[in-house]
């Protein structure tokens, strides 16, 4: 029997008070789909579980002045169903469609997916292509943290134990951007942890040259990243088959530069190129 206390604060102020006193001994609980797995695996040794899933502050989805705010407690199923997200961050909606299974999507939250800092978090590459920042509150106040800086290694979050993510602020998809995609490779379609995941949005000028592009890769490096070299390489060019394969080659090289030649590289090096080309071929 695991000896933990379960606490459900009435409001955000109550949650922050609790963390100010017990932060290092506390695990935050939102949907719980990752917490439960860690608990079962014997990886969780906190004294307290602080259930923040019912705090109303965490549940809004709204777009205003070029920014889209998604509350940390919004579930993956709610992301999938949201017309606002479909319009302003369609890659995030595509990732939600491919996320685990319906029973997991019904409870898992975007805040939990980001804070768990798995290299394979499905919502992270889409957040990165929208320059997403997490709204983080602590007993002293509020700060913004780039989602790209949230993890400093696999499953290692840079936030302090007395801090809570209340939501994410995304730059909305520019109106002229028509090409948006999220792709992943897992061992099966549903319920598979991504081995490779990618999110992209791009806009082409009338002459077919790329006028805007954002690209992020997940699951392949210790933390998901934008690959700005690839964006810069493609910007202003007219994509043809050769160019897209060349960019895929660069991507594989950039990944290997970060990870080194791990045993999985034998598979990932060609697979990453293949997935990239399959995704980008729509621009040719």
């Amino acid at each position: 029997m695991v000896d933990m206390d379960y606490i459900r604060p009435q409001d955000l102020a109550g949650a922050l008070d609790f963390l100010a006193a017990h932060g290092p001994d506390t695990t935050l609980l939102a949907g719980g789909t990752d917490v439960m797995v860690d608990l079962r695996a014997g990886k969780l040794h906190s004294r307290y579980l602080l259930d923040i899933s019912r705090l109303s502050e965490f549940r809004k989805i709204e777009a205003c002045n070029g920014e889209l705010t998604v509350g940390a407690g919004v579930t993956i199923a709610e992301i999938y169903a949201s017309k606002t997200i479909a319009r302003h961050a369609p890659a995030l909606q595509k990732a939600a469609a491919a996320f685990a299974s319906r029973p997991v999507r019904n409870v898992a939250t975007i805040g939990g997916n980001v804070a768990h800092c798995s290299p394979c978090g499905d919502t992270i590459p889409p957040l990165l292509i929208h320059d997403a920042r997490a709204v983080v509150v602590n007993p002293q106040g509020r700060r913004l943290v780039d989602v790209e800086q949230m993890a400093d290694g696999p499953y290692h979050c840079t936030l302090r134990p007395d801090e809570i993510i209340t939501g994410f602020i995304l730059k909305v998809k520019p109106d002229e951007v028509e090409f948006v995609d999220f792709q992943k490779i897992g061992r099966r379609k549903a319920l598979a942890i991504a081995r490779i995941s990618m999110a992209v949005m791009a806009q082409q000028q009338p002459d077919k040259s790329i006028g805007f592009i954002r690209f992020a890769l997940g699951s392949c490096t210790p933390t998901p990243h934008r690959f700005r070299q690839i964006e810069e390489f493609l910007l202003g060019k007219v994509p043809d088959e050769n160019l897209v394969w060349q960019a895929g080659r660069m991507l594989a090289d950039d990944m290997l530069a970060i990870t080194g030649r791990r045993p999985s590289a034998l598979y990932k090096e060609p697979a990453i190129q293949g997935l990239f080309v399959r995704m980008m071929v729509a621009l040719i």
Binding site: M1, V2, D3, M4, D5, Y6, R8, L29, G31, G32, T33, M36, V37, L39, R40, L49, D51, S53, A77, A100, S101, R102, P103, V104, N106, V107, K189, A190, L191
Partner: protein
Amino acid sequence: MKTNTIVVCFTINGEKKELQIPAAISALELIRDVLELKGTKEGCGIGECGACTIVVDGKAVNACLMFAAQLDGCEVMTVEGLSPAEGLHPIQQAFVDRHAVQCGFCTPGILMSTQALLMETPHPDRQQIINAVAGNLCRCTGYQSILGAVEDAAAGGLKGKSRQKTF
């Protein structure tokens, strides 16, 4: 060893419960070990197989991935709540008619995923059915008979309630 307890109030299969339970047990442990409702199965225990699927506030969830404490204030339905006092629920009958049950271990979970689907979408298309049961692994049937059974149950005019016998 001291065990921390909490009090949870919830409705399960139409019955109100107020229970004092250990703070860190899962919803699955609450259902199987405390309430002794053995219809809900434990397969993988980490949310990958769907054998423990239950319906909470109208949504399918994995009971193994939820803390029992998270059920506080919720309306919970397990496979025991699906069937009427006598006979079978139309979804169950469709599974029997279509031979969609072989070893049967995955069946309660799939029934609950189906129930949640039909409550939300009474007339699902095949892709919606596939999406709804994609989280339920079955190692016997090959799924085709299951998809057919869900289609039959939906065609029977099910609205999340037992269907009257019309023939």
